[in-house]
Symmetry: none
């Protein structure tokens, strides 16, 4: 099956919002063997929405429309699509109750305009919105377009994402004839081209029905191995043997074999071993703690942390020696180690991670450029009283540096827990 | 003038890469009054590229094509466009010299395939690439498409961005007759529909040449007011008077009049007043600190913070009374206040923000549901020794709750600094 994504919204056309919805939807559909062949973005214009829909129905099996489902006057998607097919509206009690319950939960009165959130296109399959007020819809078996599917979703990313996962993927999965298997190898601490060099000539292990994609991000490169075919078992086998071939070449850099962030993986390792962790952050400014606490249930192993931005707080709160700072500088492996040791004493955790560095854009020198980070790790007797430091230089963009610093810190903890810190 | 952006690349259709190019191009063109009316993404397919180009020429004045200009076999844009217009190629020495010089700079031998980087479509205006090997082109005055413009740019974001700034905007600026003005009002602490209700009937202040858009996100709703016309001064005036009308209706909820996150705005307020801030976070787990330190130069006012996840650390590090926790619970305004006061003593900051709440998905009760947050704020004498607490209930999604909790905390600090905490 072939699909088009139609994104609706003036904000996308004037460059105010980046269309992250389209890539999310494409990726999700790809997993169930549905190919997105075109992505079209138009504004909140009745004529343009109808033209895009007509063009899509003429070429593809599925048109997935996002955006323009809110209760305000510039939200016209529902009306335009209904008119296009000559359909009316019906009232969906469940959608309206959902809308009311959201206002109730926030303890706010519901404005009258929200009554429109209960109206859905007549005859559509209604997709309830688990995170917001606008219901989604699937239209199928329409006169003159018997075999086509039109999907309408909200444009707010997290609402759309939940609807994709809970309703739309389960709906289309049984209809897709193609079997597709995606495997993922999560790597960190190595760049895309070095990884490609280690993996070497793909012809040696890749088949005609499989692909290997490198998906770089500030936290690492995901390797995605995709195999498609018509028989599930054959596809599984082919995919597994390619995963094996790739893994064996870059094993050292793989931290997970499914698509999880390293903080989730680390959390699981800690929980399984009844270990606790605390953080002492300078240059990452709370990001390491924030990532650790993004994981539900992290209070089982995350004790807390300190964000020590100034030299004074490094000394006062953590007991870093004034002399160490004077001699080696605040950004040094020596200070990172004293920070981690101070944190160990203060929090009583089994693992304490520390970061000190220069995120940028200012503050760099020739010896200590923007992008430099020094990491420290100290562990309790339970984990062999390790003392490790590490020094890495990344790039010059502040937010990307913070991401990379935090990733390197979390990977350091992972390696220590697994006894891989010596390799 | 009306334009379409045609983005080319399989990586965009499988969700591997987010199309940030389109929003950049749209934003740049909008500034010179050129409207992007459609954005189309297709794969590296000759048929699909030609179909997209044909559809674009039929509707719009300018087609801007990005991607597929590299030297490898899957880069077919140049060939498809040339064939579409029945044009041949010519060799551009300057483009080839530029390509050679880039390899020379990196000290790498140039593969033979790169000779193709010197080939441009015959009769095109060649745009040299200041950051990469692929030249851009502008085609105009083509037989059968006299008044149309076709622009070809590389897909690598920073190469495309430089070409837009250095060549394409200067080329089109004198040709554009429209003036356009976008203004933004950043609101927080109020939902989209309640905002719409306060703003009321738009007909009372909106003109035919202006629009008002509501752009919601977990941290608040942006209001965008756009005005277009032919005379710069008239457009500015009209836009300003609408901004004024909207502002006066929802003033209380507006934190900025340009598109900045609240942590940047707060940072500026603190810096201008030589005030310092520290944070004491429980449920936000470092996110408030992380957001504050995302701003370059934040070390001027951000002192640091504590992440106190456990009751033990709330007591031990901050001096929260055991009795307060026992009587009111860890998630209470009373504990939030003692946390903020403890932080004030420990850090010596002018403002200390505290958060304690239930981010979810687990840990909620009937009295204290998931989504509940208690915020505390304590200030030094420099800021009137304020003691403020606030209790809000948000939704049930952990990461979104953390976003909203942190936004509410930052807004509380902003209001305190501006003396708006009493309103």
């Amino acid at each position: 099956m072939q699909a088009e994504i139609i994104s609706i919204g003036d904000e996308l056309l004037i460059g105010q919002v980046v269309n992250t919805n389209a890539s999310f939807i494409s990726e999700q559909l790809g997993r169930i063997g549905i190919d997105v062949k075109r992505i079209t973005t138009v504004g909140d214009s009745d004529t343009d929405i109808k033209a895009a829909l007509a063009s899509s129905l003429a070429k593809f099996d599925i048109a997935l429309i996002t955006g323009g489902l809110g209760p305000t006057h510039d939200d016209i998607t529902k009306k335009s699509v209904a008119e296009f097919f000559g359909l009316g509206f019906e009232f969906n009690d469940e959608a309206f109750e959902n809308c009311k319950s959201i206002f109730a939960r926030f303890g706010r009165p519901m404005p009258d305009s929200n009554r429109s959130q209960g109206e859905v296109i007549a005859g559509s399959l209604v997709l309830q919105n688990s995170c917001g007020t606008a219901a989604g819809m699937i239209l199928h078996g329409l006169a003159g377009h018997d075999n086509k599917f039109v999907v309408i979703m909200p444009g707010v990313p997290y609402e759309m994402q939940a609807m994709m996962r809970l309703s739309i993927i389960p709906y289309f999965q049984p209809l897709s004839k193609t079997v597709i298997k995606h495997s993922v190898l999560m790597t960190t601490g190595i760049g895309e081209s070095t990884l490609a060099e280690l993996i070497g000539d793909e012809q040696k292990f890749l088949t005609a029905t499989s692909t290997l994609a490198y998906l770089p991000s500030p936290t690492g490169v995901r390797l995605r191995i995709s195999t498609r075919g018509t028989h599930a078992a054959a596809v599984e086998n082919e995919n597994a043997s390619i995963v094996q071939a790739v893994s064996s070449r870059v094993e050292k850099f793989i931290y997970a074999t499914d698509d999880v962030p390293i903080e989730a993986l680390l959390g699981k390792l800690l929980k399984d071993r009844s270990l606790t962790i605390a953080v002492v952050e300078s240059c990452t400014g709370g990001l390491v703690a924030n990532r650790l606490t993004n994981i539900a249930g992290s209070s089982a192993y995350f004790l807390g942390g300190l964000i020590v931005y100034s030299n004074k707080s490094k000394q006062g709160l953590l007991g870093v020696q004034k002399e160490t700072i004077a001699r080696f500088g605040a950004v040094s492996e020596e200070v990172a180690l004293e920070m981690a040791e101070g944190g160990l004493e203060l929090t009583g955790g089994d693992i304490v991670l520390s970061t000190t560095g220069i995120a940028g854009p200012d503050g760099g020198t020739i010896e200590k450029p923007v992008g430099l980070v020094c990491l420290g790790l100290a562990t309790s007797e339970k984990l062999d009283s390790l003392r490790i430091t590490k020094k890495i230089t990344f790039g010059d963009e502040r937010l990307r540096n913070k991401e990379r610093f935090s990733q390197a810190a979390l990977d350091l903890a992972r390696r220590a827990v697994l006894g891989l810190h010596l390799t």
